[in-house]
């Protein structure tokens, strides 16, 4: 195999990776709000914490961005009432109720 053939193999991998990349990157988190996001959709939410139900070993709190919803984050935090936060989360149904499954929470 010479350097040209090696470059061609690299190009093939690049194209294969590119196709996979193109089909995956579209489902990213986008800025949204509680009432506009559909079930199973992901989004970035900005708002205030109305009430913290528990902080450890996972965190459960009521989130408010104009509308309120229960939010579940699978890790312990030090979040408190009235904290402003950005949530990277997915809306889901749990026990028949709508809630946010939080992937990441950033305190503002």
């Amino acid at each position: 195999m010479n350097e040209k053939q090696l470059s061609q193999i690299c190009l093939l991998i690049l194209i294969f990776g590119g196709i996979l990349f193109f089909f995956t990157y579209q489902n990213d988190f986008k800025e949204t709000s509680i009432d506009s996001v559909k079930i199973d959709e992901k989004g970035i939410f900005f708002g205030k914490i109305d009430y913290v139900i528990k902080q450890t070993p996972s965190t459960l709190f009521v989130f408010n961005d104009g509308n309120t919803i229960l939010a579940y984050y699978p890790k312990a935090t030090t979040l408190t009432k009235n904290d402003f936060v950005t949530l990277y989360a997915q809306k889901q149904i749990y026990n028949g109720e709508e809630e946010l499954y939080v992937y990441k929470v950033i305190k503002e």
Partner: protein, 386 residues
Amino acid sequence: MIIFLLLGILTGTITGLIPGIHSNNVSLLLLASPLFGFEAVVFTLSMCITQSFVDFIPAIFIGAPSTDTFEGVLPGHKLFIQGRGFEAICLTVFGGIIALIFGSIILSPFLIFINESWMGIRFFIPIILLFILGVIILNEENKQKKIIIVFVIFLAASHGLMFTDQIFPLIVGYFGIPTIIYSLDKIPLLKKQNEKTKIEIKTFFEGIIGIVGGIIVSVLPGIGSNLAAGTIRIFRDKIKTENYLVLLGSINTSAFFFSFSVLFILEKTRNGAMVVLREQIFFTPEEYILGIATMLLAGGFGGIITIFLAKKATYFFSQNRTKLFSILSIIVMIGSVFLFNGLVGLIVLFFSSTLGFFVILKKVNRSSCLASLIVPTMFFYIFILY
């Protein structure tokens, strides 16, 4: 998203070309950035994978090692002196490409294996490392050399234990500066660099072995690419220089490739860039698939960029500038050590270079200097496991 991909590839190329700068250092900037999720995955992985290819250019052409490539300096630089620097680079690219292709194929069994058995594997590590040191000693041909190598292992181990945060000056001293100075008078004045290469397909077998090395590196803390390569070389005594470069290229790329999967399954990692990434991602399945796609894409790019840059470098070094650049690379290495490790780094560099020279002059196995990594790793495992 494409911007982050291109930015990662560009950063990986720059960090790969400059000895002393590692993608791990650049990744730290991520912590202070607003990059999360897909953006962080794309930037970090494209940078790391590109660097794993480009890394070999300074290692082979000017003999300047990085923490990931120092095992390649001696064999790669040897080919360079013979006018086969471009071929040496292409061999490492071939190894990296094998790692990406076969790494993708074995990804699923790897995920199952790691999920079920990683806790058990690490108990054997100190025993294996001790065994490696024994093999290094026993491989020497006569009693006098065996005594010398025990002395070298003792010194290198004490360096490793004393200067735990000075790995860069240690490897530059053991594998970089002595190699260049020793080869200065051996560089032919008008040695033309060959711009053509021919890679034997059967060397792909070394690429497969390299994947095993890369998996070990990605799973076990304290085991770096070079330690894995050095260990494999000890067990495969008569490995050809060409094959060894394929092996190194494969280990370097697959270490990053599998580290990302380990991060996703165990949420644990030993790789600096992945530690940073852990804080910036959400561990969604989409992120994982995008990460694999990014690594393939950036790997293809990285391979093409490396071949292109190596060709340019080949033309450049054919102009009889090798000696000048060898001297320049020594200055760059000393400068990089001072920049990143300060005055203490220079002192460490003096000690490690002296030992590196001693090993070359006494013609004993240079893998003995790996004791500076092996012994601290052994202690690490002994303290946390037993």
